[in-house]
């Protein structure tokens, strides 16, 4: 079924009490037929995104609970493990994500105030900056991972570190380190894909104060990715 408008859809049979009139005169190209107004469409999308974010929190929640229980079981191993993480690199990445959240907010602001293309440049610039900081985060992550790989500080059966500070069960810490940062990293990559999509559509001039739902929603998602890192950073890098 196409999203196109069909004359029969708009047909009212006398029961319209204000809700039904909206779409009869206004046809935004991104207005989907089953919504009466653009506002209704926007609100529905926003509810959908918040629910999706709730599922994300619960997805990570399982890992956080697992981390908490395993940390209390193998406290010594977790403390020894965390000494192998470079908190400076973690802090740098925290800064990257925090700034990228700011540029994302600016992008949403630009999109929602974009009238006749007057904020299009600001929008595209800020999306590019966000993408750049996300890329920076992944580059730092790459160096951290390759360092661990070199030292044999790997999850589960791949753990091969035999240094003087090796403790039994240290591999459990690195299991969680790689699973948590790995899952988070996938979310960063997914976010980068989504932001790229936003950039392409912004260049096409799709977003304006009347329709900026994707920018708003991906913005929300991006803040969650940032927020999860805010919890991961102290949990993995700063515990003693």
């Amino acid at each position: 079924m196409s999203q196109a408008h069909d004359a029969s859809l708009i047909m009212q049979d006398g029961h319209g009490d204000g809700h039904g009139e909206g779409h009869a005169h206004e046809h935004h190209p991104f207005h989907q037929h089953h919504f009466t107004t653009m506002e209704q469409q926007f609100d529905a999308s926003k509810i959908g995104m918040w629910l999706f974010l709730a599922t994300e929190i619960l997805l990570f929640g399982g890992l956080f609970v697992g981390y908490g229980i395993m940390q209390s079981r193998h406290l010594e191993a977790f403390v020894a493990g965390h000494h192998h993480l470079d908190w400076k690199l973690g802090a740098l990445n925290t800064c990257f994500l925090l700034i990228s959240s700011f540029t994302m907010v600016m992008a949403v602001w630009a999109a929602s105030n974009n009238r006749n293309g007057n904020k299009r440049g600001v929008l595209i610039t800020n999306l590019l900056l966000t993408l750049g900081f996300a890329g920076g985060f992944m580059v730092v992550k790459y160096f951290e991972y390759s360092h661990k790989l070199h030292d044999g500080l790997l999850p589960g059966k791949f753990f091969s570190y035999t240094g003087p500070d090796a403790v039994p069960n240290m591999f459990v810490f690195f299991s969680f380190y790689f699973m948590m940062t790995g899952l988070h990293g996938f979310h960063v990559l997914g976010g980068m894909g989504a932001i790229t999509y936003l950039i392409i559509r912004s260049i096409k001039g799709d977003y304006s104060s009347e329709y900026f739902t994707p920018v708003d929603l991906i913005g929300l998602y991006w803040h969650l990715v940032d927020l999860i890192w805010i919890y991961l950073f102290p949990l993995l890098y700063l515990i003693t």
Binding site: M1, D6, S8, L9, M11, Q12, D13, G14, H15, G16, D17, G18, H19, G20, Q32, H33, H34, F35, T36, Q40, D43, A44, S45, I47, G48, L51, F52, A54, T55, E56, L58, L59, F60, G61, G62, L63, V65, G66, I69, M70, R73, H74, P155, G156, K157, F158, P168, N169, F171, V172, S175, F176, M179
Partner: protein, 550 residues
């Protein structure tokens, strides 16, 4: 005008006959079905998919029962038996019951009941269907490439050490979870934003309330199952040390994670069943439902309390006595909203002019069977009793009374209720009643016996048994044949109707909710105009039962 919930003919008559969603000339051919974003077509596709899963899961059930005719090996080895009951459980839970009512009937009916043109996110709905198909294909693949013998619960440490295709099966469960989440998100947004003008929260049909409560659980519980499955796969593949006690992990943690999803999932299964019963009973009693608000809110209460009772699956796992007592108490609490529903349904039927058409026969069966299933749940929620009954056939019988006697019976009732709306064709009423009777008798033969066996100590999942249990096991197996025959007759009857002419009236049962106001089958865009709501649902004072109602 004043009487919106009037005979539907008044409204469709104004606009003449529209092409229905099945035969719309603009949307023809297989490809138009595979890429459809119409919630009705997706509901129908989901329906065929879950019915196929039900058939496969049912065949495994019959095989399990057949093997149990005699102690020892009949025609399956012990390993094959383990695989058969695992596949029965996993397919029935993940591929059939969880998507059955919400994704098939809910998808079809709920937007109609809201007076909406579609769900909030039609493309997400399509994605949900294909993700389901992908998960189903993976589940089938896991059978082919080695089978799974862990039971549907995938308990560690067995599941991290056994061979076979456990990784593939758990990956399939992970994928199916996405499908469930997509449906849940979609339905919540739909209920919030796409209600017809004038339809407040307490004008929602009770089916919508039930589906809404279900969607909340789907969204909040399923991600935890997802991460649990990922952790299990990681443990199998890389020995990450979370669930395997030999390398410092905690197998009981897996049980906590698993039941944090899977107990709420029980309510994902039963709430939509209750939702259907809440529609059928007022319609066939021709009476305003008793205690509308209590029924509506008790669905939400069940959804919320359901998150706090997972520990009752683990009374014998060595969790603390305090935790076990709290879980036991919370489990008892679930009985309150469930009881509220039962009593309100019965109060609705009291002194009403009841017509015992097939959907109503299923609904009354539900009341009895779910009553037994629910009350035996109280037995099992009691700590001291559970120590005795844990892992026996009593548990098996209990949850089959809830899942099959509750959800599946309600699903069948809903199928017979909405079949004329979905396909525009009436089935043979007499045959449908005979099928219903056989299902009811066969079901009780199969599972009532299992209560006795369980209370005498017959452990679940065992391949063989002591000779003293043989008469009951055989009776149970005979019952499974009666049950299978009933289901087969119901299927042939419903499918056979599809070959007949489109003879169903728009509102064959005299239902008051909006789906009965449009054509049978509905037009592509659901309603000729935007319906509006001026009365509460089930308010028969303002409703004229159409003359062509059965």
């Amino acid at each position: 005008m004043a009487d919106v919930i009037a005979s539907p003919a008044v409204h469709t008559g104004d606009h003449g006959h529209h092409a229905d969603y099945l035969s719309d000339p603009q949307h023809k051919g297989i490809w138009s079905w595979m890429t459809t974003v119409d919630h009705k077509r997706l509901g129908v596709m989901y329906l065929w998919a879950v019915l196929l899963a039900f058939l496969v899961g049912g065949v495994f059930a019959l095989l399990v029962r057949l093997e149990l005719m005699n102690p020892g090996e009949d025609f399956m080895t012990a390993e094959q038996y383990n695989q058969a009951f695992t596949l029965h459980g996993a397919i029935m839970v993940f591929l059939f019951i969880i998507p059955s009512i919400p994704a098939a009937l809910g998808n079809f009916v709920m937007p109609l009941m809201l007076g909406a043109k579609d769900v909030a996110f039609p493309r997400l709905n399509l994605a949900s269907f294909w993700v389901y198909v992908a998960g189903a294909v993976m589940a089938v693949t896991s059978i082919v490439v080695g089978g799974v013998d862990t039971g549907w619960t995938f308990y560690t440490p067995y599941s991290t050490s056994t061979g076979g295709a456990v990784t593939m099966m758990t990956l399939s469960v992970f994928v199916l979870g996405f499908s469930s989440i997509f449906t849940g998100i979609n339905f919540i947004a739909t209920v919030h934003k796409l209600r017809a003008p004038g339809m407040g929260w307490f004008q929602l049909p009770l089916f919508v309330w039930g589906i809404y409560a279900t969607a909340i659980i789907q969204v909040l519980a399923t991600p935890v199952l997802g991460i649990t499955m990922v952790l299990l796969i990681m443990e199998r593949a890389f020995n990450i040390g979370i669930f395997d006690a030999q390398i410092g992990g905690d197998p009981v943690l897996f049980q906590h994670f698993f039941w944090f999803y899977s107990h709420p999932a029980v309510y994902i299964m039963i709430l939509p069943g209750m939702a259907i019963i809440s529609e059928i009973i007022p319609t066939f009693s021709r009476r305003t439902i008793f205690g509308y608000r209590l029924i509506a809110l008790s669905s939400v209460a069940i959804a919320l309390i359901g998150f706090l009772v997972w520990g009752h699956h683990m009374f014998t796992s060595g969790q603390s006595a305090l935790a076990a007592s709290i879980f036991s108490f919370l489990t008892f609490l679930v009985a309150i909203p469930s009881g509220i529903k039962i009593f309100n349904w019965i109060a609705t039927m009291y002194k009403a002019s009841i017509s015992l058409n097939t959907p109503m026969l299923y609904a009354t069966s539900f009341l009895l069977l779910f009553g037994i299933g629910g009350l035996t749940g109280i037995f099992l929620g009691a700590l001291s009793v559970d120590i005795h009954l844990h892992d026996t056939y009593f548990v098996v019988a209990h949850f089959h009374y809830v899942m099959m006697g509750g959800t599946v019976i309600a699903f069948l009732g809903g199928l017979h209720y909405w079949w004329p709306k979905m396909f525009g064709r009436m089935y043979n009423e007499t045959v449908a009643r005979i099928a219903c009777a056989l299902v009811f008798i066969g079901f009780n033969m199969t599972f009532l016996t299992q209560f006795f066996m369980g209370s005498q100590g017959m452990p679940r999942r065992y391949y063989t048994y002591l000779d003293q249990f043989q008469p009951l096991h055989q009776f149970s197996t005979f019952g499974s044949w009666v049950l299978g025959a009933g289901l087969l007759i119901a299927a042939v009857n419903l499918m056979g109707a599809l070959r007949g002419p489109k003879n169903a009236p728009d509102n064959p049962w005299g239902g008051t909710t909006l789906e009965w106001q449009t054509q049978s089958p509905p037009i592509t865009h659901n309603f000729a105009g935007q319906p509006a709501i001026e009365h509460n649902p089930y308010d028969y004072r303002y409703f004229k039962v159409p003359s062509d109602a059965v």
